[in-house]
Amino acid sequence: MDAGIKKGGKMNKTLLIAKHEFFSNVTRKGYLLFAVIVPILFLLSAAMLAIFGTGVSKEEVLIRAMETPIPLPLVIPSIMGAIFSLAIFISSGFLLYGIIEEKENRLIEILLTSVSERQLITGKILGLGMLGITQLVMWIIVSLLAITILPAILWMAHLQGINALQIILISVFFILGYFLFATILAGIGSVLSDTKEASPISGAITTISLLPSWIVIFFFGDPNSMVPTILSYIPVTAPTTMAIRVLMTDPPVIEIITSIIITVITIAAIIFLVEKNLKKNLLTYAKKTKLLG
């Protein structure tokens, strides 16, 4: 074998792609805004409340929280659900636009003559998944700091009793949610040929994924009622719905397991379909003759 060529193991190339995806997206404005700036603002708000709200008793906080037009114990899980969905969606959105961009500027041809379709997609999903997890970790750190500064947040959100099992389950649903949306968007990216086409579709999927966070306000008075239960079984709404339900109450174990199984089966089915048609679709792109996409 010629000098200069060292065998790159299968995993190595996947990890190289993952590393590249992570570092080339971590400095994007959209990511920095949501993963750094918004959490810092949140923390500052908590600090301000802590400074100006001293001397208020726990009971008084609870009464005030319940007296707001929409009770805060429902609003906070809703906001958390939205953060959860957006964290998933921002990372998987990079996957969608990344694939389309590589198709538009023909880098896809160089990539596929260097690595396999599976290495490419797996590398991207892993790298951007790390981006999503980094984002979530940032929010967890900020939330812990906020709670330390302002314990009233926990009372307001009825989260005093949050335990390790709940955190594990929420993490499981976060990872499942990320993989679900990442595979859906990878599939969409592989058939689309233009970033302009992607905007309305990604908008529609964001809306669907955020649905549970919005309707939580109306239906989550009883988080185990029919509407949240049904949403827990629909693949695109299941991860967020279950994460919110786990946060607010103790959903029946059978429902948690069913929801996980449905999501896993959906992910597997999408991966199967995407891989089967990937090469065919990856080379379909709009007829453009520009050097850069």
Partner: protein, 333 residues
């Protein structure tokens, strides 16, 4: 008594022998490939071989099926008829590290620096980071790109981006180079440099498949060529032999003065298959085998044209290309 060879001479003779042996081996063997896109036949029963240690020209007009042929060869397109053998087998993940591919339409990640872009693509070909950086800097130095190494890709001119991409496709020392229109948009100095690189690699025993519209370069560097048109192979073989085969048919004439109707008048002469204007008063004529050059000269004079030079010559690859593409005659090697 014959002088004994030094170890160096023996080593050189051994290397030369090995290289010669390598040159006889086939790097790419394509047999009867066909691919339809809907009702369009993009490639229709194309076969060819590219050998190690040669530059093989893949020529054809726009939309002839060159890029589809390359994509089938590199396993970027599936579900085709026919067979492809590349570097001794099918195109696997291991084979990919041995191929350097420059696609026709090009692009790079916009938000990374030139050096990072090269290093990343080199790493996907199995190169270690330090090794990739060293080689990238060496090639950038050779191509006078050092001032651009830390600039983001979007800040660079198209020509510079193209040079970066050429470096990315050759950096990993591949055994097979597949270069689709590598010269388009490059200045003459860069074209010369690229030609030097591919000739150097050829001399090392590497196989080079060069798809280009530039017939002068193809004629200059390709040992063998294949012309495809409308998905079909219309010309295939050794460049020199092809030119010899057409040599009696080509004539260069230079007129004493420029006349507007000269090309039309020449074209009217029966037996002149093609008139290619080289400049305002110089034309290359392809003669039918039944038309002798002396008769052609008489016919030109009888048309009132004043001839300054009349020369029977080997035709340019361009004129052969235009003839075969237009007449679509099928020729076997």
């Amino acid at each position: 008594m014959a002088k004994e060879k030094t170890p160096e001479e023996n080593a050189f003779a051994g290397t030369a022998k090995t290289l010669q042996k390598k040159r006889e081996t086939i790097a790419v063997k394509v047999e009867g490939i066909s691919k339809n896109f809907g009702k369009t036949k993009a490639v229709d029963g194309v076969s060819f071989e590219a050998k190690n240690g040669e530059i093989f020209g893949l020529l054809g007009p726009n939309g002839a099926g060159k890029t589809t042929t390359i994509r089938i060869m590199l396993n970027l397109i599936e579900n085709y008829k026919g067979s492809v053998e590349i570097l001794g087998g099918t195109c696997t993940e291991k084979t990919k590290d041995l191929i350097g591919y420059l696609p026709e339409e090009r692009g790079l990640y916009k938000n990374v620096t030139a050096l990072e872009a090269i290093k990343y693509l080199a790493s996907l070909k199995g190169m270690q980071e330090e090794e990739a950086e060293g080689k990238a800097l060496q090639l950038m130095r050779e191509m006078n790109l050092m001032e651009h190494k830390d600039k983001k890709i979007f800040e660079l001119s198209k020509g510079t981006q193209q040079k970066i991409q050429i470096i990315s496709s050759i950096i990993h020392n591949p055994s097979l180079f597949v270069l689709d229109e590598p010269f388009s948009g490059l200045d003459p100095i860069s074209v010369k440099f690229i030609i030097e690189i591919i000739e150097r690699e050829k001399n090392k025993g590497k196989a080079i498949i060069l798809s280009t519209h530039n017939m002068n370069i193809a004629e200059q560097v390709c040992e063998r060529v294949m012309v495809i048109n409308k998905g079909r192979r219309v010309l295939y073989g050794n460049t020199r032999q092809i030119k010899e085969r057409y040599s009696r048919e080509s004539t260069i004439i230079e007129l004493a003065e420029e006349t507007e109707e000269a090309e039309k008048k020449i074209g009217e002469i029966i037996g002149i298959k093609k008139v290619i204007a080289k400049n305002a008063n110089t034309f290359e004529l392809l003669l039918d085998v039944n038309l002798k050059p002396e008769d052609a000269l008489k016919a030109l004079v009888s048309k009132g044209l004043e001839i300054r030079r009349f020369e029977t010559t080997a035709p340019s690859l361009e004129s052969i290309f235009l003839t075969v593409v237009e007449s679509e005659q099928w020729m076997q090697e």
